[in-house]
Symmetry: C2
Subunit: 413 residues, 2 copies
């Protein structure tokens, strides 16, 4: 039996560690022949663009951010809508004698696991499908946390901590505000993680704005003024998906009011507001892709979990657990203990886990002690990645694709 | 004799290493009594806001980004214009028996060294004034490189290298472009440093736009299209101060054309252009303060040089070298050898060192081999900074200021 592994959705600093976990675990099973990796996720399976991972250096993969095999954003249509897509998919699986599918992605990827597993059962095709979770957004239900999140969180909390030192030093007689925008269209997990940067109430960030709490302009500005009057400066984290009281993203409102589209998101709008309403000097930073690609500053805990869910995915598959996702279960906070369990993909696919109210401070402008307690272990541990000439070494796939066995496929839609 | 040390201008990841160099070197001289540090640069001297550094843990300072004593942006007026400022300055120096001034900053700070040294000579006040260079912009003349630059360069080159992996993985059938904006209003040193991220022509960044080369929209867009057609994606570095053929910053032009001010700079405008003219998907990142505060990813070479110019400043001062700056001299590229020499502050103050044409590729869209050769040693070496709970430990000044000896001072201007 051969396996197929593929990466899907936005990549992370440690998704390749999950790939390494899959490949290493599979190499230990005599019953597993080849592990193929699809280029650009499910699209590579449909296109028959496959790598043989036999020669992949998994130790080097561990230190490489991004998706070594390429990822994609593609929602698999239902079989009722596009049966030809499923016919093709199973034709490729059959041509390569693939009996196990490991799909490494977020909520949408778990939906794919459900759809493919159901189709295989209907068709009587012998396939075990297992989901391997991945997302910097930390929004997959059923897993205590998601591999990829811890490293992005560590990077952002460190960045806020360092920028806080900078702004504090530059503070003169006039107030100064730093706004950092972080990813999170619907959930505030990454924004919340920056709260860890503050070891006291005086340290940055002083305010954390999450999409889970409707933006209250007046309350926010009053708090900024308070902090500036106390410390001379203020540092604010803004999730890109921050929403107003009417539930509309801040950016949409700004677009309507001003008649143009900004590339910067809610953070830019919040920074503008501070300048216009309070007259403080302000700076706006947006690390964008940097936050999910920061392989030079991975969380050791996160990378270990990413590897573990990949390896566990293979074990679940070999145990015949079809249609499940390998999930992280938290056993205790301090000391932090966790293991990997199986959850039914169908029970969690397409859901979106938001930051619970109890993790947010009462005033809605910061993270609660309970939230800190949840977040803290996820960023623990540093990894000295190998470097040459001052820069991290990355593993770059330079094998050719497998020669194709089947004719071209084009979706009729 | 006592010394006064102060930090000025935008802070860096390693300006506190220069402070550590000053304090450590001074502690070895029996002839030196106390080392005072002014809070917020020269403003702290005028305000008589001084710390006694006797209790400062210099080993911890080494690992702390930002300016531990506070910095300022303040151009010292000429003595002819504001004699009262100089009267006050020397009154404070005299009250604390300060015979040596070490001012840690950029081009403007070297101008201060010149003005204060001249005034002291005219007044017959026994003072030796020495400049200690610092700037992420790398634009001080007379020094082969500037402490602070190497760490920001290492951070930005690493960030571009990592983001490049991300964009490459996410590339599907449509083109995708990532634009990273970096600091540099007038000089392209930081933009140039990101070129180190590419170990081959296929790796990010594929284009580097510096203020030294007038932005040629058509040539730029043609190159973006070329790269996307070859690789499927393209990564671009844009210096915030990028200028058009008429010498005007891109951002001013955008403001005039669209009637509004963006907080994002030239990078946002370039990203918008790619979307409008080429129709490619695009992402825009702007690390802002993060790039000059990234203490978790310092260049070991840079920190060593920052410490060395601080320590050398004390030695120059004790040798009676008045009105000089401690400068880095490059002795060889490979192996990289350097030492610290004295240059006359008057010969370099207020100048601005731009990226030489020979460091830029012929087409003006990247860095030349000569440029790479210059930049490469400056980002060498990693430092494992001490961390607690996954985040870097920082030294935070928590001593009270010295009790004041003099009455308040207010500038009549």
């Amino acid at each position: 039996m051969n396996l197929l592994y593929a990466q899907s959705g936005g990549v992370t600093a440690v998704i390749n560690a999950s790939a390494a976990g899959v490949i290493d675990a599979a190499r230990k099973h005599a019953a597993i022949g080849k592990v193929f990796a699809a280029r650009h996720g499910i699209l590579g399976l449909l296109d028959e663009a496959l790598y043989d991972t036999a020669g992949v250096d998994t130790a080097a993969l561990l230190n490489t951010p991004g998706g070594a095999f390429g990822s994609c954003r593609f929602d698999l249509p239902s079989e009722a809508d596009e049966p030809a897509v499923y016919d093709r998919l199973f034709a490729v699986l059959q041509a390569y004698r693939i009996g196990g599918l490991l799909y490494n992605g977020g909520n949408g990827s778990m939906d794919l696991i459900v759809k493919v597993a159901e189709s295989a059962r209907r068709r009587g095709y012998p396939l075990i499908s297992v989901g391997v979770p991945k997302t910097v957004d930390n929004d997959i239900e059923g897993s205590d946390c998601c591999p990829g999140f811890g490293s992005a969180a560590k990077y952002l909390a460190t960045s806020m901590r360092e920028a806080g030192r900078d702004v504090a030093a530059m503070t003169g007689r006039s107030g100064r505000v730093f706004v950092m925008e972080v990813m999170g269209r619907n959930v505030g997990w990454l924004a919340a993680s920056t709260a860890l940067a503050a070891r006291s109430a005086d340290e940055a960030p002083h305010i954390v704005l999450m999409p889970e709490v409707a933006f209250d302009e007046e309350a926010f500005l009053a708090r900024v003024r308070q902090v500036v009057e106390r410390l001379g400066y203020c540092a604010v984290t803004v999730a890109e998906g921050l929403k107003g009281a009417d539930g509309r993203p801040l950016m949409e409102q700004a677009r309507d009011a001003r008649g143009y589209v900004q590339l910067g998101g809610a953070g830019e709008e919040v920074a503008r507001l501070i300048g216009e309403r309070l007259g403080y000097k302000h700076h706006y930073g947006n690390p964008d892709y940097l936050q999910r690609a920061a392989g030079h500053w991975m969380s050791a805990t996160d990378r270990e979990q990413a590897y573990a869910v990949g390896a566990a995915g293979v074990e679940l598959l070999m145990a015949g657990q079809d249609g499940v996702m390998a999930a992280i279960r938290r056993l205790s906070d301090q000391p932090y203990c966790w293991d990997v369990i199986a959850v039914q993909a169908a029970s969690i696919a397409n859901l979106e886990r938001r930051v619970p109210r109890a993790f947010i401070s009462d005033d809605g402008l910061h993270v609660s002690e309970l939230g800190r307690r949840y977040l803290l272990p996820l960023i623990a541990g540093e990894i000295a990645v190998p470097c040459t000439d001052g820069l991290p070494d990355h593993y770059i796939m330079d094998f050719p694709l497998m020669p194709r066995l089947l004719p071209d496929f084009r979706r009729s839609a």
